[in-house]
């Protein structure tokens, strides 16, 4: 799934950092899993807004996954104020898994 962004360059850096955040049950990172919907940057105010979802609403691992996303973005963009929001509109579906993610799941 394509991530909506207002800054393609910075978004590439953010997505690379988020490759380290793995869903512990599935073993796949949140980017290839298609959990990241939007990454917006306000360079003047030093703000980064991330909109993401979970595979299941009220997923028991949800808090940990969103905390990990926030931590990784903080590391990638020091000094930025990070806002990470959960949305279930649209809800996650298997179609959002990237081709690399599908390949990984086929092998695992």
């Amino acid at each position: 799934m394509n991530v909506i962004t207002n800054n393609t360059l910075k978004s590439t850096v953010a997505l690379a950092a988020l490759q380290d955040v793995v869903d512990p049950e599935i073993g796949l990172n949140v980017v290839d899993l298609g959990l990241i919907y939007q990454l917006d940057f306000d360079e003047h105010a030093g703000k980064l807004y991330c909109s993401m979802t979970l595979t299941t609403q009220f997923c028991p691992m949800g808090d940990s996954i969103t905390s990990a996303v926030k931590e990784r973005l903080k590391l990638a963009f020091p000094g930025y104020e990070i806002t990470c929001e959960l949305t279930f509109d649209p809800p996650w579906s298997h179609a959002m898994i990237s081709p690399e993610g599908k390949e990984f799941l086929n092998e695992k």
């Binding site: 512990p24 979970l54 086929n106």
Partner: protein
Amino acid sequence: MFANHDNSGTATTTSYRVVLPFYFYAAIAFLVATVLLFLSTGDLQGHYFHPHTLAITHTMALGWGTMIILGASHQLVPVLIEGPLYSNRLAYLSFLLAAAGIPLLVYGFYVFDVGWPTQTGALLLIGAIICFLINLGTSMVQSKKENIHALSVFTASLWLLATAVVGLLLLCNFSQPLLPAGSLSYLSLHAHMGIVGWFLLLVTGVGSRLIPMFLISKYTHTKTLWWIFMLINTGLLAFVFLFLYTNSRWLFVWPLLAIAAAIVLFGHFCFRAYQERIRKKVDEPMQLSLLSVLLLLLPILLLILIVVWLMLSPAVNSQLVIAYGFIVFFGWITAIVLGMTFKTLPFIVWNKVYHDLAGKGKTPNPKDLFTQAVFNWMGLSYVAGFVVFTTGLFLQQAGILQTGSVLLLITAVLYNWNVMKLLIHKATIV
């Protein structure tokens, strides 16, 4: 930019403090049940209405199966209803009442004192179930997102309450006649309200959500799940009605067929979910859980045998009934609990220990928090123990029964090893 973002779905989950005591209690209960089984193999060669058999059955049904289901349900209800659990306090109260009631009930059965220990135990248990029902019902009403999974859990809990109330009536009926016939005559009613109404309805309702979720399967078919729900409930209601108001034994074939059809549909649902899974590798806990779906067929076959036997002979075949009960509690229910424990508990513990460390360093995977080799040996000893003990029941061989009970005892020890290892896990971060 930064506007109009939907943030309706918060990720609040049930606290691990609510859930873990249920898992701990269930693990100990399983160990106690297998010790009692080992000490009572001789008693299982006689009539099924034996104090030790009743004690083992209730340890397995309540201490093991029900406690772990209640614990897991408190964790899973938010996933099922897409809303938070109404009250942690009610969940604690539910645990405390059940934890106090079950040993009283089991002790009372073991020494066959059907007076205050069993009756107090049953009352405490009823209190625990009512707390769970209030908690679940209020959570469902507040979430306003009812679905077949949550409805199955709620209806199953109503059947559990009905089972416990009938059980209390049967206990009271021993000391002063409340019912038209002796308590023994109603055992089948009590047992099937529990097995079908509570366990089967709950396992199909929750399993139909969890199995595709853990397999990462694309398959979903709500209509099939509604059919399963209707078949189980109408079949069981028909059974209760026929049991209370008719004497014709062959009529029991109809509720049996309805419930058998529900099981076949559930098996088909799980098979389709397995076929359409995205993740190809099925891990060991899921393999054990899928085995339990297959094991559902065995009690149905035995039940058909029992009903046919009842139609041809005036007396109940006690050995068939004991084998049926054993296959339900040590087969189907145990297999699903052994599997699902290691699909849920590691994540609950991981969340507890690593929640604040997420993203700050390399943390172990949830599946690395227990010993895989111990799990594999547990699976092997369980399958071997189940097959050997069931063979012993049919052959009526004390030596085979003893061997089977030792293997099941080993299973319980290995299960406890891994559960305790998980419960005492401390953070390790690289």
